[in-house]
Amino acid sequence: MVVRTKGARCRNRAIFIRKFPKQKGDMAAASNPTSQEGAATSTSSQQQQPNLDAITDDDFEYVDEEFVSNYTPEEAVQPQPTEPMIPDLFKQPPLVKDDLITDTSKLQDQTVEHCLPFLAGQDGPLELNDYGLPRLNREKHIKFLKQSLGPLPGRFVGMDASRPWFLYWCLSGLTMMGEDVSSYRESVIATARTMQNESGGFGGGHGQLSHLATTYSVILAIALVGGEEAYNVIDRKGMWKWLCTLKQPDGGFQVCVGGEEDIRGAYIAAVVITLLDLPLDLTPESPAYDGGRSNLLTGMAEYVRSCQTFEGGISSQPNNEAHGAYAFCALACLALLDNPRRIIPRHTDTQTSRQLTALSSPLTSYLDIPRLVSWLSYRQYAPEGGFSGRTNKLVDGCYSHWVGGCFPLIEACLSPSGSGSEKENNKTATSGLAAAPESLYNREGLIRYILSCCQDQTKRGGLRDKPYKMSDAYHTNYVLSGLSSAQHQWDLDSDPLPLPEGETTPTMAALGADSIWNVFPFIDDNDQVYEDSDRVRPIHPAYAIPQKNVAGIRAYFQGRSGFA
């Protein structure tokens, strides 16, 4: 019997029983503590999907509310048995709203208007769970990503310089949805070869200059398919020489020779250096070469720091506007350079005291965390539930990753050091700030936005920016990445190692890359609004691919010293 039930926190419970063909749902949900409270009446509805389009309200019959044991009449306000359980927060425009109308507010109001029907589950004849949410439509999204791996029609010519991104987006998205992508190994190898340049690095395609963005996506694609043959495609020595030519005296990296210098460059360089275990020495050809004092990591953290803005967020280059995508690059970059607990937080409540501590103690942490956390938190909007990329801009599914993906790193740097029981007793974080609660942001809100607004429910499939936008491989991957981080909890299980003597910044080794991260499915104390079968796979908080793929490629390159 397939039964749908409202969650434990719902005051007026009602149970809907489906009249048509009964299928035995598997009992996997019973292992989920949140559904145990209602276990007497609820069963998983994961396996039911007969002819979704034909479901109407008439297919449910209402069961008397008294059927539910803990029903309390005092609390019952207005019994609305047909309504799925959606908190008001996601059903109404925000409480405080200005009268003044400007372009920004018009767009914002329009977005809310577009999202509300989706959030309320009124987007067509979809099957919704008791929380008013549709399932993650894996089959369609998988099909969409497989199609995006090509061949692509001629109108994609504008993406000709971004083809490596398609490799990463699609393979990563497929991996998160549980697909085995190792079957793509041969084609990734063949494709990557044509993109690699003799002078090191990967470009967008045959005859295109090497670029850090394309290099990043090719290397991650290689890590995702795995295997020595794939790893071997990478010309490590060429890569090292090329990276040296990109390194700038101020610590940052240009994205390609003659290209712009920005924080993406710093993050990607950190990824490439640590995944391939590259030597840190600079070649004399490097613009940052100073006779051997500086290396590839010198000044990187300072560069990241210079990108924090007065709002607390991070900009692409110093002095620009704070932007979600760059916040992730900044945090992930620092988390690869050193233990996040040491390198990220800087407590800046009183300016004078900090100035003094800056003089007396080595500067080992680089970001104004209270400001950054504030800025990141403000990226989440109600009622939409999703994140925006900047102050006064609109929500967009891709920031589920760029902003949402910052929280595991933030939580790690706020978490108390030590492990296990020691941690329980030691509630004081190293930064002098309170340890993060289990959720700094509203996970339910993000998951609601993703499942109800970001899924393209037409035949096309894929995930998107917001309703009425086209799905694409970019959004499909980053929305899923965001979903993954909302569904998991990360625990940094290593304490900062002592820095080498005389060092104030980690320039001798990228210590952060060795950090041990543990991951657990996030169990909501309240209700879990999605089915367990809709949980996607976890990805490494800094590398954005599964941990085992990170371990695989790192182990391979750590095994070979020098450029044999």
Binding site: A161, F310, N320
Partner: protein, 566 residues
């Protein structure tokens, strides 16, 4: 071909006697009758005509097709077999033919054939759609063409061949001219005249048109252009099954193959510049092409203002593009030293740039790339004290007080001014170089904007940033902030919050003053009612409050210690 030889021996064995003339003549008439009775008056298509011709020359085969072998008379069967053998063995060399058929069998076949008046050189192949006449560029069978249309096509093919011959003569002449050859007849050096070049251009466009029409072959502009004569394009190389492969439009594929060729030779020339423009027109996100374009401009010493003018149009047509702005950045880097010493030229250039930025921002007020470029430009051209810059930002804020990009730029313009900025200071750090007048002015500005729409976060963030930069207590604006929060904690019907940002700010003010309980109330009300989406964050802030107060003591004593040390 053993089965064929078997077939050949069979009739020979069963019918050893040579056929008489009489029955064969009847067969001939028979078959021709069947054929003629079927013959339509006039063929309408080329294939039909071929079919008729085939049937005429192969009467036995035509009869077999129509009636089936078993329905034919003995004589006709024999005639058919001989006809088949003849056409099959005709293809073989004489020696193999001899091996296949005994002289006796051969003789018998020829005997029969002579008797039936068969056409010895009959058409071998049954005409077939697509294979006999080929397929045109639309995938249609040329055989389905009407006779007239087909003749047209034949004429065009002849014309193309003629053009190709003339073109080859021209190219040979070009080659001869290059090598300094002398004309054998006139004894003069070979010179390719302008007229000849023009003629060749006309010829090539005609050839391209014809090729496209006849075969659907797209010979792009470049391959048929005299300018690119000497370049051997490097075609796109990619293995079968490459991922995310794009079915490039022919024009793009061609242009890219020429780009690869000239880039590998590091050629910098006007034609390369034109090529980059051609490609950018098709794919403006092609970073390689942009960098190569810049290299061309610098190598050829071309006018930067001209390039910027061209770029303006491209930028307006590609609002979301990234590469355009880096290209502009490179151009200005290159151009700046040439005007740096000339204050007037510099001011003029700055104004020009600003005018364009204003124009493009009016299309897309929060364009990240444009704003990034703008802040870089301010630093490069030292526009800090340029009142126009500040004024144009104010205009944007007046148009939309929620334009956070404009607010960010203002903060940069005011506080990154070397006059007020200590190098190396973080954006969220106090800077002693900032004057109090400046802080007053900026706080004032932000406050007037808060009044317009109190729930707009931009001026709140701005004001907070200004206070921190100026080293001022947040509590210095307490009165202002309290205007937006009425009767907090005095019951749902009493409490009024006109701005959640004010409530957040107020929490910080109370925390700064050590009034933890009041701060906690602000945060609690945000979590409970006014800003529930951030409940996790507000709870964390509350935890920080309790932790902060216990640490404050330690911090204070440390501070005192350090002060004495300093």
């Amino acid at each position: 071909m053993p089965p064929k030889s078997k077939a050949a021996t069979k009739p020979k064995a069963t019918e050893p006697a040579p056929a008489t003339t009489n029955p064969t003549t009847t067969t001939t008439t028979n078959t021709s009758q069947t054929a003629s009775s079927q013959e339509p008056s006039e063929p309408t298509t080329v294939l039909e005509r071929s079919q008729q011709r085939y049937e005429k020359t192969r009467p036995f085969e035509a009869a077999r097709r129509q009636h089936g072998l078993s329905k034919l008379s003995k004589e006709d069967q024999k005639g058919w077999i001989c006809d088949q053998l003849l056409h099959l063995t005709n293809r073989l060399p004489a020696a193999s033919r001899a091996r296949l058929l005994s002289p006796k069998a051969s003789k018998e076949i020829w005997w029969t054939i002579n008797g039936t008046n068969s056409i010895v050189r009959g058409l071998k192949q049954q005409p077939k759609a697509h294979t006999t006449w080929g397929t045109d560029r639309n995938g249609h069978d040329v055989g389905s063409y009407s006779i007239e249309r087909f003749d047209e096509r034949i004429k065009k093919r002849a014309a193309l061949t003629a053009l190709q011959v003339s073109s080859r003569v021209f190219r040979e002449n070009v080659e001869r001219e290059k090598r300094g050859f002398v004309d054998a007849r006139s004894g003069q050096e070979i010179i390719v005249t302008e007229r000849e070049i023009d003629e060749e251009k006309v010829r090539r466009s005609k050839m391209t048109a014809l090729k496209k029409e006849l075969y659907g072959e797209i010979t792009g502009k470049l391959a048929s252009s005299v300018d690119w004569e000497d370049v051997v394009p490097t075609p796109h190389e990619e293995p079968e099954g490459a991922l995310a492969a794009i079915a490039y439009p022919a024009e793009y594929a061609e242009a890219m193959s020429y780009l690869r060729a000239v880039m590998s030779k590091k050629e910098y020339s006007p034609r390369c510049l034109r090529l980059t423009e051609h490609i950018i027109g098709m794919n403006a996100a092609h970073y390689t092409v942009w960098l190569y374009r810049a290299a061309n401009i610098f190598a050829l010493g071309l006018s930067i203002p001209d390039e910027i003018e061209w770029l303006n149009e491209v930028a307006l047509a590609n609002l979301k593009n990234y590469q355009i702005w880096h290209h502009r950045h490179l151009l200005v880097e290159h151009y700046h030293p040439t005007i740096a010493s000339d204050a007037e030229a510099l001011a003029h250039f700055a104004k020009q740039e600003r005018d364009f930025l204003i124009a493009i921002l009016s299309e897309d007020t929060k364009n990240y790339h444009v704003w990034s470029y703008r802040s870089w430009l301010v630093g490069k051209l030292e526009m800090w004290e340029d009142s126009e810059e500040l004024k144009s930002i104010e205009t944007l804020i007046d148009e939309d007080v929620r334009n956070n990009s404009a607010w960010s730029h203002r903060f940069f313009l005011v506080f990154s001014n070397p006059k007020y900025a200590t190098p190396g200071k973080g954006a969220t750090e106090r800077d002693d170089k900032v004057t109090q007048e400046l802080v007053d002015r900026e706080v004032q500005y932000a406050q007037t904007k808060v009044y317009l729409a109190p729930q707009n976060q931009s001026p709140w963030n701005y004001m907070r940033g200004v206070l921190v930069k100026g080293g001022r207590q947040l509590a210095s604006v307490q009165e202002f902030v309290e205007e937006f929060v009425v009767k907090l904690g005095e019951g749902d019907d009493q409490e009024e919050v006109r701005s959640t940002h004010a409530l957040d700010f107020l929490a910080e003010i109370y925390a700064e003053k050590g009034e933890s309980e009041k701060a906690d109330l602000c945060l609690r009300r945000l979590a409970e009612k006014w800003d529930r989406i951030r409940r996790g964050y507000w709870e964390w802030r509350r935890k920080c409050l309790t932790q902060g107060s216990s640490e404050k003591v330690v911090e204070e004593s440390e501070k005192a210690e350090e002060v004495t040390v300093v």
